[in-house]
């Protein structure tokens, strides 16, 4: 078992084998969501807090469903109901939440690095559900699971990530993970949204959509994040759409069996045409289904590991009882 982390803050620096271990676990959790009774007792009596300082439908619901299918209790806190509106700092909020003994905190925050900050101040596992323009690791993991299901493996694939790379945490997490697993990554978009510095992370840069998409195995579209754009990165939405909207005509330049991903929410007609989003190459709904499995696997691995560590420290570090083989199992 190569996954041995206390938190999931990001995918940067995570070795390929750790990512593969997570994906393998996630794949086996999919079956639970197809049962009549979509629930296993694994995390019975555990509490997961979803602390969301940004709006979210998909990710928050996905985490909540994942926790509930493992029998954990969930508490949702959104920015409008949080005490930040009364002036409390993030760390103070987290310390207060921790005093109520949760078993994991899932954090989404508009500031990059917020989960890292939290992880330094609390002891329970922190899962990054998206922090500013930094990382969104569970989204990248569900993207990888979807790609792997369709294409067998990640290594050797050419993946074009198209759009607003500058502000995209989804793009960054995917870039790190895809590189760790041996894929070729092309970043495609206008120079204002795809800084040359990304080359240092091992990516190819393309400014023309046709060049970036040609012969690609996977096209990953990113949302134009108007809410994070303080300045003008392109002249107009119409002009962006003219040059970078993924249409059926553009898709034909890619490999015949290309698959198309989008993390949602989609701006139909801006970065992706409806014909492509709803077309035969689209695996966008598979991504959403896989999101639940990825988050179940992650909650299981992090919460179970945390409990094992605590039990171990209470037992004075004696791990002999966990020896492999039938003597310990049965």
């Amino acid at each position: 078992m190569a996954f041995a982390q206390r938190h999931l803050l990001g995918l940067e620096g995570m070795p390929g084998e750790g990512i593969v271990a997570l994906l393998d676990s996630a794949a086996s959790f999919k079956e639970i969501s197809e049962r009549d009774i979509k629930k296993v007792p694994t995390l019975r009596g555990k509490t997961v807090i979803n602390l969301f300082y940004e709006s979210s439908t998909r990710t928050r619901t996905s985490f909540e469903i994942a926790a509930k299918r493992l029998s954990a209790d969930t508490v949702n806190i959104t920015s409008s109901s949080a005490s930040t509106t009364k002036g409390e700092t993030l760390v103070d909020t987290a310390r207060n939440l921790e005093a109520m003994r949760p078993d994991a905190i899932v954090l989404r925050h508009p500031m990059s690095g917020a989960p890292q900050l939290l992880a330094r101040h609390v002891t329970c596992p922190i899962i990054n559900a998206g922090d500013g323009c930094h990382e969104h690791p569970t989204q990248a993991l569900l993207d990888l699971l979807t790609i792997r299901e369709r294409r067998g493996q990640i290594a050797g694939l050419t993946v074009a990530i198209v759009g607003d790379l500058l502000h995209s945490r989804v793009g960054r997490s995917n870039l790190h993970a895809l590189r760790a697993l041996g894929a070729t990554v092309r970043l495609v978009g206008p120079p204002t949204l795809v800084p040359r510095e990304f080359r240092a992370l091992g990516a190819e840069i393309h400014t023309r959509l046709a060049d970036g998409v040609r012969d690609a195995d996977v096209i990953m579209m990113l949302r134009i994040q108007r809410e994070r754009m303080g300045a003008n990165y392109f002249p107009s939405l119409d002009e962006y759409s003219h040059y970078y909207c993924l249409t059926e005509e553009v898709v034909r330049l890619a490999k015949p069996q290309v698959i198309i991903l989008h993390p949602g929410p989609m701006n139909r007609g801006l970065e992706i045409s409806s014909a492509v989003a709803d077309g035969p190459y689209s695996v966008i709904m598979n991504q959403v289904t896989n999101g639940v499995a990825v988050r179940m696997a992650l909650l299981y691995l992090l919460v179970a590991r945390n409990k094992a560590e605590q039990a171990d420290s209470e037992a004075g570090g004696d791990v002999a009882v966990a020896a492999s083989g039938k003597g310990a199992r049965a």
Binding site: F29, V40, T42, A322, K326, A330
Partner: protein, 181 residues
């Protein structure tokens, strides 16, 4: 007893004979294999269940008995005590469990906790008419009120001894060995 404290308690012939006997007992007590389904517990139990299924087919003919696999990792009661995160390999039950006679199959019966977990997992798929248990080895030391309906061999052991069932499918050899702690 060899030098390193390991003794073989069953060889491949003993294992084969035990499984053939169990298969005959299953047919006799169940008046055939109608409505029966086998569920192997990962990982060694799956191989034993597959062998039993083959032998049952040789005895009774007809359609092969439905077959499933259960991974009890998510149903364990010792989540807090395990150092490593066991890899979840998934449960695979594609037949309708409702009203069936389920024969749960594992290699070693020890504390009974694995069987408890496996029964919970099966019941999440429906309401079987009955669940029975077949094991290759019963080594004693039960911690729950669970007993096997079919036993290949009763092997008295000390609690700290380790019982290893090795099967050709996974280990390249058929044998049961007991290792002193």
């Amino acid at each position: 007893m060899s030098e390193n404290g390991t003794r073989q308690v069953m060889d491949w012939q003993a294992i084969q004979r035990a499984l053939v006997r169990i298969a005959h007992e299953i047919v006799e007590r169940g008046h055939g294999t109608a409505n029966l389904a086998l569920v192997g517990i990962r990982s060694r139990g799956v191989h034993i269940a597959q062998r039993l299924r083959r032998i049952l087919h040789e005895i009774e003919g007809g359609d092969a008995v439905p077959f499933g696999v259960v991974d009890i990792t998510l149903y364990r009661d010792d989540l807090d005590r395990r150092m490593q995160n066991p890899v979840v390999q998934g449960t695979d039950i594609h037949f309708d469990v409702d009203g069936r006679r389920i024969l749960l199959v594992d290699d070693v019966l020890f504390t009974g906790r694995t069987i408890r977990a496996a029964m919970d997992a099966i019941i999440d798929f429906g309401r079987p008419q009955a669940i029975q248990l077949a094991v290759l080895v019963d080594r004693g030391h039960r911690e729950l009120p669970i007993r096997a309906d079919y036993v290949g061999k009763n092997i008295p052991t000390a609690r700290q001894e380790d019982v290893a069932v090795r099967l050709a499918e996974a280990d390249g050899v058929d044998e049961v060995v007991v290792t002193a702690a």
